[in-house]
Every structure is written in structure tokens, then in C-alpha cells.
């Protein structure tokens, strides 16, 4: 019965109810859309960093991260790749031989990072193969083929088929060089990455450096990103010698992006709901003050304060829930639409790619966000109604009923 009366009271002053419902709807819609866009953007940024280079877990020789020396290769690295592959939950494993050097064409010369890879292995771990804008990724198919980023290609004025000369030092410190033909050009979300990385066939570069069958880095992709820690400890048990690090250890800044985005978004939603609380309070207060006589009648005929209090709470919760439902449906609809179209931030694209941020992202609206919105708006509705309801039950019936 209380609910029925509360419901009719909500319908009673339609204009006032609609205004607060609209305010809640707009606030929550904007909050949900902005949050899921931000979440998608941060997810895409992390994902893109993991996919282009980092993968989930990497193994290096203990000193490598400090020294970056050619000699610090993983003992038994090639064999380790096979053994890791057989572990549970491992999707793909790739071994990389890394060297610093110079790339030059007739035009110019620039510093580069050379990654010797097995393109069949590597394409399962990273998505550079899919990020090709020209040519092929298969560095092994032709002799002395290389794959470079768009940025580097522009710097060197190179195209698919161009020859570039790669100069570096071999394991004994001798200056060595070789000429490679550009087989493919890729474009990732990070211009610095695209401007400095050259992928070549691992065996070829190993021969050039005098480092056959040696690797510096093993990159591992898991079936399930949630198994990060357990997989890392499996690998540590399997290979206690080298250093096994998860991506959160390798790139703490990315971990902060994904962790703090959520904290920040929760805060953002709470701020919106907090602001709405005052709107709710104002609406309920007006509604109560309009009905002073009626509350006088209700108390006079024997309605207990507790019931009147509950009735006003219900009115507030109904109003807020209506706004929340409409806001959530609208937010969900908008997000679904943006999921299909994607959000292209290309206008800021160049700037974003400088920092390795994703250009195109897809909003993410987790169920937990709905839960939070519902819980917090109901809490706001209850808090917002406390003062008005308290005013209503504190009324002196004789005063409330008095007609002069």
C-alpha cells in the first residue's frame, strides 16, 4: 500500500518529477558514457602496448635489463622456448635476438633497434604482422629481408623493395654491416616504436653477429591474461636461472593506467551521484513542503511517523530509480553504438601516437559499473530524502491542520 501511494505521489506533480528524473538520466548517461570511453581507451592503450611489443611475460638474462649487452643472452634460450611452449595456458612464445645499430640509405642514417625474430613465432605473440600497411611480414621468406615502421621508412625515405644498410657491432666488438631489403612496413599506435624498430630474420642477424642459436629475450603470450602471476611462477620454476618478469613489472606505467583508471572512474561516478543527491533532496523537500496539510491529516488519522518516513523514502527511491534506469539504458545504447563504430581520436592522433596511446578505441561498459550506479543512486535517494522525511514526521499535526 505504501508503495502504491508513493508511486501515485510521484505521478502527482509530473513536471517536478520529470525534471529530477531528467537530471538523473542526463548525469548518469554522461557519467556512464564518459567512463566507458575512458575505460576503453585505457584498455586499448595497454592492449596495444602488450600486443606490439611487450606481450604478457618476458624472460631475460639477469644482467640484460641493466647492460643491454650482446653477450647477456639467455642460457639455453632456444631450448627453453620449446619447454615453455609445453606449459599449461601458454598461447605463444617467441625468442628475440636484440641489437642496437644504425640504418642508412642514400638519404640519411638513424639509430635503430634490431630485433632478430622467427616471423612464424613472432606473429603469434605480437600483432605487428597485422599492423602492416604495405608488403609482407615474413622475414624468413626471402634472404636479407627486413620489416620496418612507417616512421622509420619516412625518415629513411624507404619503400617496400628499398635497400637499407644496417651497421652494428658483432659479439667481439667488430663493426659489421649488411644490406637488407624492406619487405614490409608497419604502423602501430606508437610513433617512437615505429621510428626505431627493425625486424629481421633471427638466423641471418645471428650469423652477422656471430651469435648463432643465442637469444636475449623470450616473449610469452598467455591464453588468459588473468593467469599472469601463476604462469609467471610456473615459468620461474621451470627456468630459475634467467629473470622472468610480467608486463606489470616490465612496464609499471601501464599497470598504473589500467589500475588507476578504474579508481578514477569510480570517483567520477560518485561525484556525479553526489551532485544529484542535492537535486533529489531539493525535489523531495519541495514535495514535502507542498503537502504539509496532508501529512497533518495522515498523522491525525493514525499513520505512524515510521510509515510516513518510509513512504517519503519510497517516493525518493522511485524517482531516482526511474532516472537511473532511463540513464543506464541510454548509456548502454550509446556505448553499444560506439562499440560498433569505434571512437576515432585521429584528430589528436599524431599527438596520441607519440605517447603510444591508441587512436581508435572501443568503449567498455562493465556490469560492475551498472551495479555501482544502482547502489550509489539508491543510497543518494535515501540520504537525499532523510531531511525532507524528517521534516514531515516532526510536524505538529495541530499546526499542520490549522486553517485560519
Amino acid at each position: 500500500m505504501l508503495f502504491q501511494i508513493a508511486w501515485r505521489n510521484v505521478l502527482r506533480n509530473k513536471k517536478r518529477s520529470l525534471i529530477i528524473i531528467a537530471a538523473i538520466t542526463c548525469g548518469l548517461w554522461a557519467g556512464l558514457v564518459a567512463s566507458s570511453v575512458t575505460l576503453g581507451f585505457s584498455y586499448e592503450t595497454v592492449k596495444s602496448a602488450l600486443e606490439t611489443r611487450l606481450s604478457h611475460i618476458q624472460i631475460h638474462q639477469r644482467d640484460f635489463s641493466e647492460s643491454h649487452a650482446l653477450r647477456d643472452t639467455i642460457p639455453g634460450g632456444i631450448a627453453l622456448i620449446e619447454r615453455i611452449r609445453r606449459l599449461q595456458g601458454i598461447r605463444a612464445v617467441s625468442g628475440r635476438l636484440l641489437a642496437e645499430g644504425m640504418a642508412s640509405t642514400a638519404e640519411t642514417a638513424t639509430g635503430i633497434l634490431i630485433a632478430g625474430i622467427d616471423s612464424d613465432e613472432e606473429r603469434r605473440v605480437t600483432t605487428i604482422g597485422q599492423a602492416l600497411i604495405e608488403g609482407t611480414y615474413a622475414t624468413g621468406s626471402k634472404r636479407h629481408a627486413c620489416v620496418i615502421g612507417e616512421e622509420l621508412a619516412e625518415k629513411l625515405a624507404a619503400r617496400v623493395g628499398s635497400k637499407i644498410v644496417v651497421t652494428t657491432q658483432d659479439i667481439r666488438g667488430n663493426l659489421v654491416g649488411g644490406s637488407f631489403r624492406v619487405a614490409g612496413i608497419f604502423r602501430t599506435d606508437s610513433t617512437p616504436f615505429d621510428g626505431s624498430n627493425v625486424f629481421v630474420n633471427r638466423r641471418e642477424i645471428a650469423r652477422l653477429l656471430g651469435m648463432e642459436d643465442r637469444i636475449h629475450e623470450i616473449a610469452i603470450l598467455l591464453d588468459n591474461a588473468g593467469q599472469l602471476e601463476s604462469s609467471a611462477s610456473d615459468i620461474r620454476r621451470l627456468a630459475p636461472g634467467p629473470k622472468t618478469e610480467t608486463w606489470t613489472e616490465l612496464a609499471p606505467e601501464l599497470r598504473y593506467i589500467s589500475e588507476y583508471t578504474e579508481v578514477y572512474l569510480n570517483l567520477f561516478l560518485y561525484v556525479i551521484v553526489f551532485a544529484l543527491l542535492f537535486g533529489i533532496m531539493n525535489t523531495m523537500l519541495m514535495s514535502v513542503l507542498d503537502r504539509i496539510r496532508e501529512f497533518g491529516v495522515l498523522t491525525a488519522v493514525g499513520m505512524k511517523g515510521r510509515k510516513i518516513f518510509t513512504m517519503i523514502m519510497l517516493e525518493s527511491v522511485i524517482l531516482s530509480a526511474l532516472g537511473a534506469i532511463v540513464g543506464m539504458v541510454a548509456g548502454w545504447g550509446t556505448v553499444e553504438h560506439l562499440k560498433r563504430t569505434g571512437i576515432n581520436l585521429a584528430t589528436f592522433g599524431e599527438g596520441l601516437r607519440q605517447w603510444g596511446y591508441a587512436e581508435i578505441s572501443y568503449p567498455i561498459l562493465p556490469l560492475s559499473m551498472f551495479e555501482q550506479v544502482i547502489v550509489s543512486i539508491v543510497v543518494a535517494a535515501v540520504i537525499g530524502a532523510v531531511y525532507p522525511a524528517w521534516k514531515a514526521i516532526r510536524l505538529d499535526p495541530a499546526m499542520a491542520l490549522r486553517t485560519y
Binding site: R293, A300, V301, G305, K307, A398, L401
Partner: protein, 230 residues
């Protein structure tokens, strides 16, 4: 035994700049089944008196015993409960719940009392019939005329099965015809059901029909006459 018993009741309002002495020592007994009219000019203390009898306010001094219970012994919330079970109210105007239908307004107090659905239904029909509004049962009260609304109010006042019904100037907002109808209904309810009525008015048409007239002047009872039924 009297169901309403006032002894040396004083009421002083001191909320304003000057304290107002609204009742200056009123003693009054109302017996079950009586049909009592409180008359007096505006400001003489009628509403104040009815508020005390209705347990809506407390006296500054003196004792108020309602249905054998001393008002002073009841807490604020006990008083709400007491009103629910012992007293029926009809106010001057606008005293129905506007979002409810006529029928729901009458049922409302019984819901508060927690009475079973069957009883509620039966009582609602009976009472709306008694006030001649069976046809308007499911109308929202805003669709009813002032006179009809007051009749619904009378039905609601009786629905809780109260010991007595209070009506503060129930005819003040009604035209002669509607006022007459309302009085007829209250009279016949008094005759047939022995419902005790106490109501206030400064309407001379009403005074003529009352069996007992209590006249208030300046917060004092200046006259208390009981006529033999004709």
C-alpha cells in the same frame, strides 16, 4: 462513564510575541451516543478544544481523559496509535488523501489498523452506502464535489470503528444543501449506530438541529444546554 472528560483545561499558545490564552479553564463531559455541537465566534477556542479532545495537542494545564485514558500518559507515538483506534476525524476541508480514490481513502485507516481484506471491503461498502456515495466509490477524490468529499471523510472517520467522531467546522466550506445533507447523514448515523459526534460550528442552521450545545466565549464555556429529542 463519560468517554470525553475535561477538567479545568487551560491552553496557552506562547509561540508568538504575545501568549494567547485560548482556553481558560474548560470542564466538559461527553457521554457515549451524544450529538454535541460546540459553538462560538471565531477565535473563541473551538478548534483548540477539538484538538485536545482529538489528542492532536496537549493542554497547558488541567486533565484530558479520552476513552478512559489520560492524555498526559501517552507518548507522542502512543498518541498516534491511540487516535488510530479511538478517534475519527472530519476536518474543515481538504482532508482526504488526493491520490487515493473514495474507496481507498475509507479503506486506508483500516489498512493502518491491519484489518483483514474481507472486513475492509465490507466496511467500505457499508459506509459509502451510508453516506450515499456507493456510485462514486472508485472516483479520485479530486473528481468529487466539496459536499461529497466531506461525506467520504465521514465514512473514513467511522471506518476505524472509533469511540467518537470529531468534526471541526465540517460545513464551513459547503453550501446550504450540501451542509444539510451532511448533517442528515451524521444525525442518522448517530441515531442508528449510536456514534458519538462532537463538532464545532458557527453556523446557526447547524445549531438548531443539535441536541446538546456547548457555547464557548473567550475560551470559557458560557452555556451548555441539552434539548430533549423532539
Amino acid at each position: 462513564m463519560a468517554i470525553i472528560e475535561l477538567r479545568q483545561v487551560e491552553k496557552i499558545y506562547d509561540s508568538g510575541a504575545v501568549p494567547v490564552h485560548a482556553l481558560r479553564g474548560v470542564s466538559l463531559d461527553v457521554e457515549p451516543g451524544e450529538f454535541t455541537v460546540v459553538v462560538g465566534p471565531s477565535g473563541s477556542g473551538k478548534t483548540t478544544l477539538l484538538n485536545l479532545i482529538g489528542g492532536l495537542d496537549r493542554p497547558t494545564s488541567g486533565t484530558v481523559r479520552l476513552d478512559g485514558t489520560d492524555l498526559a500518559a501517552l507518548s507522542r507515538s502512543a498518541l498516534v496509535e491511540f487516535r488510530l483506534h479511538h478517534i475519527g476525524f472530519v476536518f474543515q476541508a481538504y482532508n482526504l488523501i488526493p491520490v487515493l480514490t473514495a474507496e481507498e481513502n475509507v479503506e486506508f485507516v483500516m489498512l493502518l489498523q491491519g484489518r483483514p481484506k474481507e472486513t475492509r471491503r465490507k466496511t467500505v461498502h457499508e459506509l459509502l452506502k451510508a453516506v450515499g456515495l456507493e456510485e462514486k466509490m472508485s472516483n479520485r477524490v479530486s473528481e468529487l464535489s466539496g459536499g461529497q468529499q466531506q461525506r467520504v471523510a465521514v465514512a473514513r472517520a467511522l471506518a476505524s470503528g472509533p469511540s467518537y467522531v470529531l468534526a471541526d467546522e465540517p460545513t464551513a466550506n459547503l453550501d446550504t444543501e450540501a451542509a444539510g445533507t451532511l448533517l442528515n447523514i451524521m444525525e442518522s448515523l448517530n441515531n442508528e449506530r449510536k456514534t458519538t459526534f462532537v463538532f464545532s460550528t458557527h453556523d446557526s442552521r447547524v445549531v438548531e438541529r443539535a441536541r446538546r450545545v456547548v457555547r464557548l466565549v473567550d475560551g470559557r464555556v458560557s452555556e451548555d444546554t441539552t434539548h430533549r429529542p423532539a
